[in-house]
């Protein structure tokens, strides 16, 4: 199509901007300005992909650049469709809405299914030695910063180790090593470290009787059975990588992206706790006990917290101890009751 439009021309040698008129005749174009007259074949022009409402840049065979409003150019010169695929997607409302919905679904699926699945696969391929190293380093860190030596009587320790041994035997897994510590500020607590170590604090063993401890140990055994410690570490790594991959391009957004990330991590932790509870209910039943045992153990811990802080203004669950690191006490008690009547 023949026609005429105004443009800027840059020769690529200086920063001088030259206003030109572009004359389109057949398959040729001519640039006309003061002391300037250039002619090219249309098929030698290389338009760069369009973005937003910025003018169109056309690279010329002489190394120069022609810059003009997109619509002026497009009405005379055909623009190859492949050069502006992303642009055409962005301009379609349907595409934008689909992307938005697809993104919501994809992000949900990646976080709820993809990352846990990936963590499982990786955890199963991890050499046992690595897990043992994690446990050793983790315990050494806690010993240095949190724990003190246990003053639990040797007979009680042996009794608890014995109960853990029975549970492990019923499940057919190797008996985990048991460590006793005075818990310091983490209070009454039990931890399952990757690679088969269960740590119990004196405070926990003092609040719960042997049957209550059995329920808690069954729960911790569930963490070990399903390698939750390792999976949690791997999940955190993968989630961080994924978040960096999609939000890495967002300057300033990375900061605010920490807000949803907190929900994510607590979400994963809860899933693992539910998982370990389900394992504990099953194991308790198989060893001739009731899942209700875990419910009453949790209730005793809750009562202990309430007794200790009768005038807690916030009426919130304790910030430390077993109940804080194993969230959703009420829900867990209910689940145990449900499992008991089944």
């Amino acid at each position: 199509m023949n026609g005429l439009f105004a443009a800027d021309y840059f020769d690529g040698l200086t920063s001088r901007r030259r206003a030109v008129e572009v004359v389109v005749v057949g398959d040729r174009i001519g640039l006309r300005g003061s002391e300037l007259s250039l002619d090219f074949r249309q098929r030698d022009l290389r338009p760069r992909p369009r973005v937003g409402s910025a003018p169109l840049d056309i690279e010329l065979p002489n190394g120069g650049l022609l810059v003009a409003p997109y619509d002026d150019v497009a009405s005379f010169i055909p623009i190859p469709p492949l050069a502006s695929l992303a642009d055409r997607l962005e301009r379609r409302m349907a595409v934008v809405l689909t992307a938005l919905a697809g993104l919501a679904v994809a992000v949900f699926l990646v976080y709820s299914r993809g990352i846990p699945w990936l963590a499982d696969v990786a955890a199963d391929r991890l050499p046992p030695q690595v897990e043992a190293d994690i446990a050793r380093e983790g315990l050494a860190f806690l010993d240095a910063n949190v724990f003190r030596a246990s003053h639990l009587p040797a007979a009680r320790r042996a009794g608890l180790q014995d109960r853990l041994g029975q549970l492990a035997a019923a499940e057919g897994m190797p008996v985990p090593r048991m460590e006793f510590r005075f818990g310091g500020f983490i209070g009454p607590n039990a931890l399952a470290l990757p690679g088969g170590v269960v740590v119990v604090t004196d405070q926990l063993a003092e609040i719960l009787d042997d049957e209550g401890m059995t329920a808690v140990l069954a729960h911790e055994l569930g963490h070990l059975r399903h390698r939750h410690g390792t999976r949690r570490i791997l999940q955190a790594s993968f989630a961080g990588l994924f978040t960096a991959a999609i939000f890495g391009d967002v300057s300033g957004g990375t900061l605010a992206a920490t807000v949803p990330a907190v929900f994510l991590y607590t979400g994963y932790a809860r899933d693992l706790e539910r998982d370990a509870d389900a394992f504990a209910f099953d194991l308790l039943r198989r060893t001739g006990r009731s899942p209700r045992l875990l419910a009453s153990a949790l209730q005793r811990l809750q009562d202990d917290v309430d007794r200790r802080r009768p005038k807690d203004a916030l009426a919130r669950p304790s910030r430390t101890g077993y109940l804080a690191s194993h969230p959703l006490t009420g829900e867990r008690i209910e689940a145990a009751e449900r499992a008991a009547v089944r």
């Binding site: 200086t14 901007r17 650049l65 992307a99 380093e137 990588l241």
Partner: protein
């Protein structure tokens, strides 16, 4: 002559670019991200104007992809080893450290070489030794941490041990303004447009002044936010049994405080650096208001948090609009008179070649 910068991007328009980018990135498991980066930078550059002409970005997505794959590998190596063993993590960091000055130079060079205005490229040249000197103070804090007998010191909270534990943090705080100033001068001093070199001379002392003030601003603001959060948290937590709400309030408060500090330091350092920058017979003029930028950033993080990230394009656009409006060029020289270095044809691929090995965006 006086010419002002202007950013003409629109939030609606940029949202479309952003959401399509994000979707394609997730749908391709991150492989599209280099193309997304190029598209995003082309949008932002293409809507930034000076003297009737806009900027452009020419990064090669394939070069960026190669750089990202290396970066992801390094990140994986570090996070996994650091999670499994702090000692091994520190060892990996020590090995990676000598590469950091080089990475910084590559990143500056890649971004400059792929930015153009009026069909002439920017460029960057810097020496490894210069970059090393600029960031060397950053190594003080990690080195001090490594030297501390951690289990022993952390075990007993005596006055001496507490002081020892705080030492790396204090060292970092003392080194930070110096390193930032040197790095900024390295960046500006090594940059050029066409054949012309940028020049900037700023006293490191004025950087210290800014960061000390920022510390007090942050402290005052932090105290204010802390009181507000505690009051609000108590009120809300009494009514509904939701401990997460308080956690979220604390995080939002934390992010807002960070945004305040960022707004303050960025406005002040940008003014200081830009007003000291010259290109040929021209000088940059920056008139950012710390108050305005702070409130802009606070609005941004609140909006982004409340929309789970969907407000990011809006935040980016309004921030750039303000920053561009506060920046200008003035002086006796002419913007028309810059000439390409001899022998270099403007659209040649020198930029891509430079960045081919490593295309890290360090956003320093």
């Amino acid at each position: 002559m006086t010419e002002n910068f202007a950013f003409t991007g629109k939030a609606r328009e940029y949202f479309r670019v952003w959401i399509v980018n994000l979707f394609l990135t997730v749908a391709t498991l991150g492989l599209y991200s280099p193309w997304a980066k190029v598209r995003r930078k082309r949008y932002l550059h293409g809507h930034t104007w000076l003297a009737g002409s806009n900027f452009d970005y020419h990064g090669d997505p394939w070069a960026i992809l190669r750089g990202r794959l290396v970066a992801v590998a390094a990140f994986l190596l570090y996070t996994t080893t650091a999670h499994f063993s702090p000692r091994a993590g520190a060892a990996v960091l020590l090995v990676l450290m000598p590469a950091v000055p080089w990475l910084i130079l590559r990143s500056f060079a890649f971004n400059a070489a792929n930015t153009s205005w009026r069909h002439l490229r920017f460029g960057f040249e810097g020496r490894y030794s210069g970059a090393l000197r600029a960031i060397a103070p950053f190594a003080l804090a990690p080195l001090a941490t490594l030297l501390l007998p951690l289990p022993e010191v952390a075990g007993r909270p005596t006055l001496r041990n507490t002081a020892l534990l705080a030492a790396p943090g204090v060292l970092f705080g003392l080194a930070y303004p110096y390193a930032r100033a040197r790095l900024a001068m390295l960046h500006i001093g090594g940059s050029r447009y066409a054949g012309e070199a940028f020049r900037a001379r700023v006293g490191v002392g004025s950087f210290y002044g800014i960061y000390i003030k920022a510390f007090f601003v942050m402290f005052a603001f932090g105290a204010l936010m802390g009181i507000a959060t505690a009051l609000l948290g108590t009120l809300v937590a009494r009514r509904v049994q939701a401990p997460e709400l308080l956690d979220v309030a604390i995080i939002v408060a934390y992010v807002v405080i960070l945004a305040t500090a960022m707004g303050y330091t960025q406005a002040r350092t940008a003014n200081l650096l830009m007003n000291a920058t010259r290109l040929g017979g021209l000088g940059l003029r920056s008139k950012l208001s710390a108050k305005k930028l702070m409130s802009l950033y606070i609005g941004n993080v609140l909006a982004i948090s409340a929309t789970l990230g969907l407000a990011v394009p809006w935040a980016v656009v309004r921030t750039l609009r303000y920053r561009a409006a506060c920046l200008g060029m003035e002086g006796d020289g002419a913007l028309d008179a810059f000439a390409a270095p001899r022998g270099a044809r403007a659209v040649s691929a020198t930029g891509e070649e430079l960045g081919e090995v490593f295309a890290l965006d360090l956003s320093l």
